[in-house]
Symmetry: C2
Subunit: 178 residues, 2 copies
DNA sequence: CGCTCGGCGGACCGACCGGTCCGTTAAACT
DNA sequence: AGTTTAACGGACCGGTCGGTCCGCCGAGCG
């Protein structure tokens, strides 16, 4: 029987898929490539996941869990303004690491613009929740609504990441709330 | 012999491909779908273009021509600061139109992150040139280099377009240079 | 020692991809 | 009217996709 703690399977497959999907794109990576990287048989993939869509959804959920944890850590400060700056700073740190390939959720929605499937819902839900998080923080701060728009704009620009130094966004955020 | 003005061919194919590639993504659209939308035979496509990559490159070059023309019109003002604001405003207008599906160049680079082919070069060249255009305008204005970073950040955020009102970016740009 | 059973590898399936090729049709020119 | 010629539509090719299935092997247990 399958061990409760990963019987040579699910976690390794998901880890390999995460790396490949994020670096090369979901469409460009086939299931054969995933199982080759995971070092298991193809049937193992379809035992743990109903299909590629479910694997992609699990990949996005895993990224979300990671991102949520990092965001929660950044929100440890008590002052709402400082928390907003920390939120932008956390995204900047994520963007600044090597092998950054953009936002996994935005990338997926770019690859499948009209998708209504499970991964698309995970991606859109993440974006909506994160946007609301910014709105709530700004409301807590008592700043006008346009401040939330601007913070979100900085985050969007960071994830787009076409060459601008992440530091620029963080400094601007500090000016904005300070 | 082929008429000089589009023998039921190149322009119509390119127009159909542009619409389909931009709306649904380059990877998602096959050559069969393009020729069906263009209403011509498959051989016509391969007479006018060596392959799909060349068609995609032509599509991106067409979008670039359109974007360059719109940008040139926005840069008609004499004051460098006003020109920067107009540049951001032009992008905002582009983003605000119905059926906006993101930046064609950024979308392509998201779909093919490691591509070194012709379309990828067109896309990267456009981004580099546009960025330099911003740098030049800021230098002409005599503003510090960080202003160029911030303008570019606004443009990046506009193209990302995950819900923020374009107006917010334009207003912020005006504050920045005013 | 032999039996069971889970997992690896790969063959296999139907669908679709980019790209080539050809038979037919219709228009244009003389 | 006859001939030429361009273009349409579709058959076709090799390859790859997501997904299924099966034969073999090796580890665990009676």
């Amino acid at each position: 029987m399958a061990r409760a703690e990963d019987p040579a399977g699910r976690e390794r497959i998901l880890r390999a898929a995460t790396e490949l999907f994020y670096v090369n794109g979901v469409r460009a990576v086939g299931t054969a490539e995933v199982i080759a990287a995971a070092g298991c048989g193809k049937n193992m993939l379809y035992r743990h996941f109903p299909g590629k869509a479910a694997l992609v959804a699990a990949y996005l959920r895993g990224v979300r869990a990671e991102r949520d944890k990092a965001a929660a850590k950044a929100l440890a400060a008590t002052d709402p303004g400082e928390r907003l700056v920390a939120l932008v700073g956390e995204v900047a740190a994520w963007v600044g690491r090597e092998n950054f390939r953009g936002c996994a959720f935005r990338n997926y929605l770019t690859e499948f613009p009209d998708g209504d499937d499970e991964p698309a819902r995970v991606a859109r839900t993440y974006l909506r929740d994160t946007r609301r998080q910014v709105d709530d923080l700004v409301a807590e701060l008592g700043a006008p609504a346009v401040t939330a728009d601007r913070i979100w704009l900085l985050i969007d620009a960071l994830y787009a990441g076409t060459g601008t130094a992440p530091r620029v966004a963080v400094d601007w955020a500090r000016e904005l709330v300070g």
